[in-house]
Symmetry: C2
Subunit: 213 residues, 2 copies
């Protein structure tokens, strides 16, 4: 799968989870097939955009029939890697880290959250949803033993880059970064970063609310 | 300001908070001016992209000098509306709502979080960072009295659309939506929505980790 997908643009990839979500809802509602026109209307896209996106993966539609919802949902899920079970750790068990650990269904997104790390001594030995919280001093040793590949960073921006550097040395190759800081992604070719900037999103909303666009 | 900005594309607008953040850090570090080349390198953009983006707002650079960091930061802040003090409410004081209320510096993003609503009777009379939590039954009356314009939705997807509909009737014209649901934005011309889909972001990371792109 990975070789075939290597030429797909990042903008198409970023739309795939949304297709997956809409198709999952259709499937849950018992809808068996859908035309590109109807899917387009639901998703506020054009039918030609949908056909173009799905063609990147070989296309799954049939002229005059539309898309088989369950088949398309399952194929997009496989492309995204929803069954990957990537070993995942979360660093920073403050309010945001806590909420992320509880709120996200990691396993349905291809990740298995196995350990949480923090500097707060009071949290040691505790857990969040049965996931143990360890001292961040144990991080390197944990990584050597358990080989996690994804790290969720819910730490202050001051600590983000240096921690990320040491995590890359320890074998982490994907970062989900909630720090108010754009992680430098130039480490190595095979390290990927998704920066989630909630503050940027709120500022965009403020602009749009003020300008009504 | 609002009229002049009405033709700016949403993709430029979505990049402005990032410019604002980088310029804020430069300013905090005592940097007084920066060339478009240096800014481009920091932000992983091209210099021509930066010049093009900032030209949308009349451009603030001077040939051979570059950009005055403090001036550009302040002008972009004014465009974004960081001093707007938009009255804001948050609905859903679960783990995610709680974290959002505590973690985000709303005032620096042009919003003032004034009230939180939940259905959990046990939370009534409590507060988060001094912001009172009210019963959701009081929502309509609160809106009539206090005229909030921004609503942060941290509620299950089943409740999102119907609650949003009633909030629009109550005068809300901007939604920051964390429900696993794309709010229908077709209400009225002047209602804006920022959907934050954390699950989509994690799935994108999974794909990228699997495909190393």
């Amino acid at each position: 799968m990975s070789k075939d997908n290597s030429k797909i643009s990042i903008s198409v990839i970023k739309r795939l989870p949304r297709y997956y979500r809409f198709l999952g809802e259709l499937k849950a509602n018992g809808i068996e097939r859908i035309s590109s026109n109807s899917l387009a209307q639901m998703m506020n896209l054009t039918a030609s955009q949908i056909r173009q996106d799905l063609n990147c993966f070989g296309g799954f539609g049939h002229q005059g029939y539309g898309y088989n919802v369950a088949v398309l949902h399952s194929k997009i899920g496989a492309i995204l890697g929803v069954d990957s079970k990537l070993k995942t750790i979360l660093i920073g068990a403050g309010h945001l880290g806590n909420a992320i650990a509880r709120h996200l269904d990691f396993e349905k997104k291809g990740c298995v959250l196995e350990a949480i790390f923090d500097i707060d001594e009071n949290l040691m030995g505790k857990n969040i949803c049965s996931i143990p919280i360890y001292n961040v001093a144990y991080l390197q040793e944990y990584c050597e033993k358990n080989k996690p590949v994804v790290a969720v960073l819910c730490i202050p921006k001051e600590a983000a880059q240096s921690l990320a550097d040491s995590l890359v040395s320890a074998g982490i190759r994907a970062f989900w970064n909630f720090s108010h800081y754009d992680l430098n992604t130039d480490y190595q070719e095979n390290v990927v970063v998704e920066n989630v900037h909630l503050g940027d999103s709120l500022l965009t909303l403020t602009y749009r609310a003020n300008n009504e666009i």
